[in-house]
Symmetry: C2
Amino acid sequence: MKTDAPIPKVPLARRAARLSADVPAAEPHDLISFGSGHGCPAVFPDLTEAAKSALNAFRPETLQYGPTFGLPEMREWVARHVCENGARNIRPENVLVVNGAKNGLGLIGRLLLDEGDSVVVTAPTYFTLLPIFRTFGVSFVEVSQDDQGIVVAELEKTLARIRDAGKPLPKLIYNVPDYHNPSGVTMSLERRKGLVRTADAFGLYVVEDSPYRKVRFEGEQLPIVKAFDDRGTVLVLGTVSKLVAPGMRVGWIVAAEDLIARLAQLKADLGTSPLAQRIILEFVTRGDQFSRHTKNVQDTYRNHRDTMVAALRRELPEVRFTVPHGGYYLWLTLPPHVDAERLAARAFEEKVGIIPGSKFYAGKGPKGQGAPTNNVRLSYSHAEPEEIEEGIRRLARAFRSMA
Amino acid sequence: MKTDAPIPKVPLARRAARLSADVPAAEPHDLISFGSGHGCPAVFPDLTEAAKSALNAFRPETLQYGPTFGLPEMREWVARHVCENGARNIRPENVLVVNGAKNGLGLIGRLLLDEGDSVVVTAPTYFTLLPIFRTFGVSFVEVSQDDQGIVVAELEKTLARIRDAGKPLPKLIYNVPDYHNPSGVTMSLERRKGLVRTADAFGLYVVEDSPYRKVRFEGEQLPIVKAFDDRGTVLVLGTVSKLVAPGMRVGWIVAAEDLIARLAQLKADLGTSPLAQRIILEFVTRGDQFSRHTKNVQDTYRNHRDTMVAALRRELPEVRFTVPHGGYYLWLTLPPHVDAERLAARAFEEKVGIIPGSKFYAGKGPKGQGAPTNNVRLSYSHAEPEEIEEGIRRLARAFRSMA
């Protein structure tokens, strides 16, 4: 397409004019990537039989337009799954099947966010959330996180200060309670209860995004945050991406029925693929393959984590981190004088991809003192154990070259 | 979930507050549906082998997160397909793969539309477009359509009047040039050229939505509207839904690269399913199965159309219509005294689903005289020939009962 000719003169929408017109460069192929939350190909299941059944016995369903809200059995399965995790009174009518949890995040943004609104996030927070919500023209209110999760007392004080100043309250609190991305922290029981109590007191929604919950290596499994919600305050986001396969693009939102009805109208894409849903249903409900698969995923990523932890202790004893009990990520604290962005640039030259912690901050941090400059998120999900060992050696080389 | 407890107090976004909180009722099972644009299950292809290959040889690709813009081969296939239909200089970089064309429509809305903007549509127009664009808070400018397609001279006059009144011009012109939904009309060559010329003159975008193009029964195939575009004025929407299977949820937008870059950021769902894309690629590129399938689709729907046309001429000679050369729909004109909404209600009692023409008007029609009350859209795609015969008999019964 010619680009030198004059382009149409009508302006883009305000939200789109804020976006970059550039296409990001692809990663080089010889990079060992600790950057992304991609799955390890070795644990992707064999879905051939599930697909064969979905494409034959279920052909009139799977190749047709599907129901807007999702296949009835998929909604039932999700409702049951959420109840098994501690929530009460969740029925299939509370479920909207979406094209992965990120599609759900965008829909929740369209449901709740107008230009000028604000959103509470932890510091640090899931960094892909930030550009998605920024397209709605919102600002962020950052609240600290410690090893028990989001600091509810600070959240309460922050909200009270906003209210007492006569300013509009944030619309929602976004949080990843299980094996937080990027910090790996799991919220304590008390904090889960306190989060809902505080949200109720101020009349905010809570978005509970929990893609890693079943990627659990050890330790007790606490009820989901939604378990403490009697008033439809909590919207749950779920996905099969981190446990089965990202390529399916099947996720869900669990919320009050009137919100689900509106979210479905905003989705407006004639439903998530019934083929993808049926393949998942065939896989998770036939025999014991799903429980065997779940165990395999847990064993594999536990081994990845252990390999990375051991390699870090051996190669980079200067670096501190808390060992997560599940999920995909290690959150490193470098010595205070080491700048993580510079380390990431050096690591890239050594052909290992890492993400500096500053990218996970919505703004200047909860106290407004600027985001810390000495954190790094490492993902151990994608790379094989040997690549993890080699990648950490490369990272150590990059680190030493900065001294 | 309890619904009697107080709900959170923060207001929904303005766009969501405009939506209904109710869930629409499902259609009864014994209804013969001429209402929807669903495909006929008998022509859904056997994708078992394509899926087997996609899930095995391509597993690390198909079960992983896919590229944001779509699989490179899918983008190449789309670019080639658009060029084969007359467009020039379209490269894979001009393609964004989306979750069906409707997902693309929503994204184009987010790219171009702010509250208070307006959009040009034909009268009548594709009715699912209306709620999607209404979530953006826009109004519609209606332009007449005749048997050559959108009346470009009227479009020009309308735009000139808006400009001369010092009002903001519409952002885009939405049109279905091939086998229009609901009217079945195909735009003439002159109108295609004129549409682009007019859009260029006023600096508007054109959205060319052409899902039915290959569902062609007879007659010449004209170049797509994009073929006459040198300045990136035309955004093309495509899909595999009407030719292969709606359940795949694979569609595309073709546009200038800077717009594609922004649309991808607005999509923000980590890409359309690579599994669905690979299944489609395996199906359309291996051997001659895709050309055989295309012929089968054309033969099947031609037969459906012929069956419905013959049944209408036999059972309802009072009704007028132009026989479409492709697509899924017949657009009926009832005698002027017959109210289509009342007929639809009566037909529903006779267990046949039809959609009154008034639903396909964005407002009061191009002349502001109110939408005609005596049109009906019949879809012949979904029902089998015997059901079509029976459905038209039921419709005739409903019609006679109103006399």
